[in-house]
Symmetry: C2
Subunit: 197 residues, 2 copies
DNA sequence: CCTACCGATCGGTAGG
DNA sequence: CCTACCGATCGGTAGG
């Protein structure tokens, strides 16, 4: 966590605290204390506590979207192999989480604390993101690669399982990030692939 | 949500509010307002805000444990058919969630707000509960019913997927609780069963 | 980035 | 179950 800018350092500290204790249970002074400054001094860099949350959530959402776009568009399977595309999407999702567990946890759990348009915007982007999973599952069923299933429930189940990762993954834990991704790709493929495998 | 006792009504209202906004973001006065009483009047029935949270979490944990015990111990598959036992365990877990979505969500997400022994106790019970899933997965691998996999990661993935249910399930939604359970049993079995299926 | 300070709200108590 | 009230803490501002 190198300090590129003071603003960014604030967001990184806030990510850790928000993910560990929740947005509402974290005070502005808690964040300041970690940075060894006084509470009010934070406001030289940010305009409100909610702005910090928004910055974290917006950046995390963008990272998920960018990674998904790259994963699905890349390679020989562009638009023609749903199973390979879904595997790449799962792998990209795991990587975004393991690259910044705190931010991912905040994105997944703390969007409720946002108000009005920001909250609605995040929900919309989350729906669009989930639709990528659902569409690939449906495409795989259509080609006969995947067994018949409720695509909406399956997509939600897969994303819930993936989004549980911040709850147990540790960078210095038993499984390195790449192995975690391998396992999830395996589990998802087993869950969906038909007798063709 | 019938009012059996005032104390229970308080816990039911608190479950709704805690699950919707989080423990820290819910004030004692918020709970009182829904019950049409004054904030301090709550303390005629409870000793602290955290006691209310604890009551909700403890009861939910007990419901999960009791349902799991009954599911695994019952029927002809007692201790001899890991796949059938795991299916029953998944079904029981879904039922506990759909029977009281608010309490389940609080159990899954708000235990962080507990302090000291209570927090440690819940974590211990959660671990023991997860071990039921892991042990059955390992037993199924040992008998050859399930394909080889990382049992710990698989158990966590399954539970994360199930615990995502409060995030989208609605009692008056597209899928009734029984169908949700059917689908999750199917997905979990597909994920784990080997070529023997 | 600091000190001094603001109004609002928090969980909870006293005393009926 | 109520009114009146408590000390603590909250997010944030003023003015340097």
């Amino acid at each position: 966590m190198v300090e590129l800018s003071r603003r960014r350092a604030i967001e990184d500290v806030a990510s850790e605290l928000f993910s560990a204790h929740g947005y509402a249970a974290t005070s502005v002074r808690d964040i300041a204390r970690v940075l060894d400054i006084q509470g009010p001094s934070l406001y030289a860099h940010v305009t409100s506590k909610e702005d910090v949350l928004w910055a974290i959530v917006d950046r995390a959402a963008t990272r998920f979207e960018t990674a998904a776009e790259a994963a699905v568009a890349s390679g020989a399977h562009a638009g023609q192999d749903p199973a390979a595309a879904l595997a790449a999407l799962v792998r990209a999702h795991v990587r975004v989480i393991t690259d910044d567990v705190g931010a991912a946890a905040v994105f997944v759990h703390e969007w409720r604390a946002l108000a009005g348009e920001r909250r609605a915007g995040v929900l919309g982007r989350r729906d669009a993101y989930e639709r990528r999973f659902r569409d690939l599952i449906e495409a795989g069923i259509a080609t006969g690669d995947f067994e018949m299933t409720d695509s909406s429930l399956a997509a939600t189940a897969v994303l819930s399982a993936l989004n549980g990762i911040p709850g147990w993954y540790r960078a210095d834990g038993r499984l390195p990030a790449n192995r975690v991704a391998d396992h999830f790709v395996d589990l998802v493929m087993r869950m969906l692939l038909g007798a063709s495998r």
